[in-house]
Symmetry: C2
């Protein structure tokens, strides 16, 4: 297995100003694995689904080179379910309903075929579970990327801080970075977080792009892909992380240059994701479209007029 | 006169999480002219001050090559006064008090020495007043940049839309762009606004940088200068516009390449401005610091790894 992805697979009901989608497939691992599959294969998922998870989507994932050996299907419970409504500005959202369902039975063992994977992406999960998955891969993966959320920062801080010592890249949003470091200045937050372990911190800012901070004290800025409309922001952060890790896995090595290009790829794929409901747009991305959008993104950020 | 700047000169009382400054010099024209003075001289201001405006600041402005022939000092009224308090996130702010005072007597004639100026920056003022100032320069300036605010967008829309037909560059923030165009998508807003006249629209997003939209349909992104702390955001947008116009005036011509570099310069000077209370940091900018920060800004935006 080239890349192992641990995270939820879910059913989501999503309301946006553009419409409503009822019980469509979602979950971090779904978005992550689909995004990564454009760069590296096979991608193995560690997750759990319920009796109601559509078999059709499992086939589509497999068609994209995604290995589901590590996905447990529960025999009696329904899938993890989330319902949310996005605000008119598409930035904020309200959670209308969360049903954990199978999530309580998330597997803490991974298939033997995953156990030597050189790349690991730990999606947003209980950090104690992230640790158990991390520990089963030996030798230690070459690169580990982790995501988390406010719920674990406040509710499982000790376990989360321990995990920071094991990861190479942490990818969180600006609010989470501020909560995790207890400061407003993102630059000071970055220093505090990087001091706990990761070599790189990626701070996601939605339509305002992303920042990359390095342990050496450097900062890099990446704009979001310019879109007319954001149709459904669900999964954008997971898609971003999945493409980043997929690209790194394809290159086989984590350097600053590789990571910068990986973030450009993540930006492009996240932009594609949010143009349709759920992961639909990620099922069939035209690779020439990736190249076209990369040129748009580079051109829009190209303000150099050297020498001054 | 190389560049004429019309705008307020004010006294401000500012509260931020870092402290409080009482009745310090502010006003759009003050920030604009100081910023522009690092690129072009002389810069002539059209404004009005009251009996309480400190003569010491007038001397400092003159020392920076700023011509005050067009600044009327009222014989009996106090200066325009604004008091505001910034929120902890330094993005939002509450206006605690506004005293128009001399602002009602803003001059609508400009000195003869200003009347052939090739560059004009119309700071945030009543658009009817902006028009009277604009009309007194003949031949029509080579480049006109305008700023405005929500108050005029809702209260003087017709006059403001007429002004859009006379300007080359409009520089406003994201909320103002959305209010002016009545849409949420900034890209659609930009198309609607550019259709009314300007060749270029600059949308300011504070700590999230700025976007440049062109009439030809191109978009460019500029990150904010990375700062540990923003001490006082007052005047950042005016400083940004002043440096942009100063740089254009120094180059003598408005091309897309010149404008892109001008926005880099505006970003740098705005970053310097917000590190101290009021316009203090703009009084003595070390020019080698501009060059140093330019390199930081270019490096942080340099994510190209060509070919893909």
């Amino acid at each position: 297995m080239q890349l192992v992805v641990a995270g939820t697979m879910a059913l989501d009901t999503i309301e946006t100003p553009f419409g409503r989608a009822e019980r469509i497939v979602g979950g971090a691992a779904t978005y992550i694995a689909l995004a990564a599959s454009y760069y590296v294969r096979p991608v193995g998922i560690v997750s759990i689904i319920g009796t109601d998870f559509p078999a059709e989507m499992l086939l589509k994932l497999e068609e994209r080179g995604i290995d589901l050996t590590g996905v447990v299907r529960h025999l009696s419970k329904p899938s993890f379910f989330w319902a949310g409504r996005y605000h008119a500005d598409m930035q904020g959202r309200d959670t209308l309903e969360t049903q954990l369902n199978v999530l309580e039975d998330f597997p803490d063992t991974i298939p033997n075929s995953y156990k030597e994977a050189p790349f690991l992406l730990l999606g947003n999960l209980d950090p104690r579970l992230q640790k158990r998955i991390y520990e089963q891969i030996s030798p230690r993966p070459a690169v580990v990327l982790m995501d988390t959320m406010n719920f674990w920062i406040s509710g499982a801080r000790e376990a989360l801080e321990e995990m920071l010592g094991y990861v190479d890249i942490l990818s969180i949003n600006d609010e989470e970075a501020r909560q995790l470091a207890g400061d407003y200045s993102l630059r000071r937050c970055a220093r505090a977080i990087l001091a706990k372990g990761p070599a790189y911190l990626i701070v996601k800012k939605g339509e305002n792009g992303a920042l990359l901070f390095t342990k050496e004290g450097e900062t890099f800025f990446f704009p979001a892909y310019p879109l007319e409309d954001v149709f459904d922001p669900t999964g954008a952060g997971d898609t971003f992380a999945g493409a980043i890790m997929g690209y790194i896995a394809r290159e086989g090595v984590l350097t600053l240059d590789v990571l910068k290009e990986a973030i450009v790829q993540g930006t492009i794929l996240a932009g594609i994701c949010v143009e349709r409901f759920g992961p639909e747009a990620l099922l069939a991305v035209d690779e020439s479209e990736l190249q076209r959008r990369r040129e748009v993104l580079l051109r829009m950020s190209h303000f150099l007029r050297l020498p001054a």
